[in-house]
């Protein structure tokens, strides 16, 4: 068994205070491997997004540990944690969160700019990533001039521009029509997933299950079952 890309052990997370206090994660343990496209599914409020946030280093758990490539990320200070996210994690947000007043190339170049690459070099690299996601010739357009599927591809290009080991996708098909959603996730599996990368996807969409390596079901803050295990 290879070392996991991510290993979470006994992760607990509470929200709120007093009577409103609720437990979002109840001692979740999970492992994700390189070359794997791991889905986390479950009803709204089951803790999927919370788990994804804890695993990706943006939400500190109340207890438990998360190791990425063997290092406990929650022992890192805030600057080191930011560096960890910048170098190890790529995010595709549900609403994309593209900057409407930047061009698509500038949006994609953001992780590179944060990595202190010179502007022109970053834009040049970003243009290549846009080509990878099938958006050749769209580099100078603002995101608002693109369709929903194209915007999703820009978000994917931005997520992979930093060459992360782990790609986090939150509801990647939520804002897309069925065919486009399936096409996008299929594209990701075919072109973005590789032996040195692990992709975690939170989704409600059954139509993209065909691309999953494993599907973990969550309910009330616990992982209930592994629905499918495909080839890794």
């Amino acid at each position: 068994m290879p070392d996991p890309a991510i290993r979470a052990t006994g992760v607990v997370k509470w929200f709120g205070e007093g009577e409103a206090k609720t437990q979002a994660l109840r001692g979740v343990s999970v492992e994700a491997y390189f070359g794997e496209m791991l889905y986390i599914v479950g009803p709204s409020g089951s803790g999927k997004t919370t788990l994804l946030s804890v695993l990706s280093g943006i939400l500190r758990p109340d207890s438990g540990s998360v190791s990425v490539e063997g290092a406990n990320i929650w022992n890192l200070g805030s600057d080191k944690l930011a560096d960890f996210r910048l170098h190890k994690i790529g995010f595709v947000f549900q609403d994309y969160h593209l900057f409407p007043r930047l061009t698509t190339a500038e949006n994609v170049a953001i992780p590179l700019i944060l990595k202190r690459k010179p502007w022109n070099e970053a834009i040049g690299e970003a243009t290549k990533y846009l080509e990878i996601v099938g958006l050749k010739g769209r580099a100078d357009l603002p995101p608002v001039k693109l369709s929903g599927g194209e915007q999703q591809r820009v978000a994917i290009a931005r997520a992979i521009a930093g060459q992360p080991d782990i790609l986090i996708m939150d509801e990647p098909t939520a804002s897309l029509d069925g065919d486009t959603g399936v096409a996008i996730v299929g594209f990701v599996k075919q072109n973005i997933l590789n032996d040195r990368r692990c992709i975690l996807i939170v989704t409600h969409d059954d139509r993209i299950n065909q691309f999953a390596t494993r599907i973990l079901k969550m309910e009330d803050g616990v992982l209930t079952e592994t629905v499918k295990k495909g080839p890794s």
Partner: protein, 378 residues
Amino acid sequence: MKGIFKLAYKLLVNDKAKFTALLVGITFAVFLIVQMTAMFAGTMKRASATVINLGASVWVMDPAVQTVAQTTGMPDYVLDAARSMQGVSYAVPVYSGAALVKLADGTYQYVTVIGLDDATLFGRPQLLQGKIEDIYAENAFIVVQDPEFAKLGNPHVGTEFQVNDHRGVIVGIAKVASSGLFGVPTLYTTYGRALQYLPNPRFTIAYVLVEPKSPADVIHIKQQVQALGYLALTKEEFIDRISDFYIYQTGMGTNLLIMTAMSFIVGLSISGQTFYTFVLENLDKFGALKAIGAKSRELILMILFQASFAALTGYGLGIGLCVLLIALARLRLPDYAALITYWNLGLAFVMVVVIAAISSYFGVRKVLRIEPFEIFRG
């Protein structure tokens, strides 16, 4: 880091509506601040024109004098006493008063007459036309070529007129460092002739102009003059005294303060609110940047850069607008009293920095509080 600043720059200027509103707010505030203080500085310089133009190091006067134009005559012994004081290199009298000039076309015009010491002509202006020794000629006056010059019908050497019903002749045309405040032309003549032409009270010396042997002697001269019951001020002190009079005893200072405060509040309100709205609208994007891996200090730098860029651009535009307005005003009103000084620019700069600091403070607070998890939750 350059890339991050460029990112911040593009996020700011590409939001054209907000950027324009920011610039308008800051430009307007800077314009008002610089314009108000420039008018004040211009007025103050004009109010001290005689002090600046005569250039004496130490001025001896009656303690009642508040401005250079409101003279109280001193007896001749003050001049004699000043000349005999320890540390005085030389001392001369000067006369300053107003006269009525009747021009060749029959019109009347008030003028300021400066009577220079007959023996030394200390404080004489720089001549553009004529010879200084001609000031000793019969009925001779030198006219200052300043924005008020035209009120005397643009005279030339040889032009004749009446001064308080006495014949006067222009023997020279001069230039001075500063024009007067009250919009009247200035004539120079000798002290003796000034006494002949202008109605006089019992005591005629307006000021005694003193040159100390060394700067260290000024303090002793001041003490000796004070012992006589009079007041000795350095040139700078006299200018300050005149400024203080206008600031504290005419309401000009209060008006200036109110206008400056209003400009600041207007600028802060427009710019602060616009910038804060800009940050709020981009809050989810800042959160996304945080999630991607931007450090808090990088986000703070981005916001500070945006606020500083908008502030400095507005500062430049505000000053440019002010310069343009003063230039245009001077096309119509040559003696428009406005003077942009380093002090004006410094004050406006400090206010702009404060506006930028306050505006960015609230934005920074908001951005630091945004949790990337909120972005994930949508």
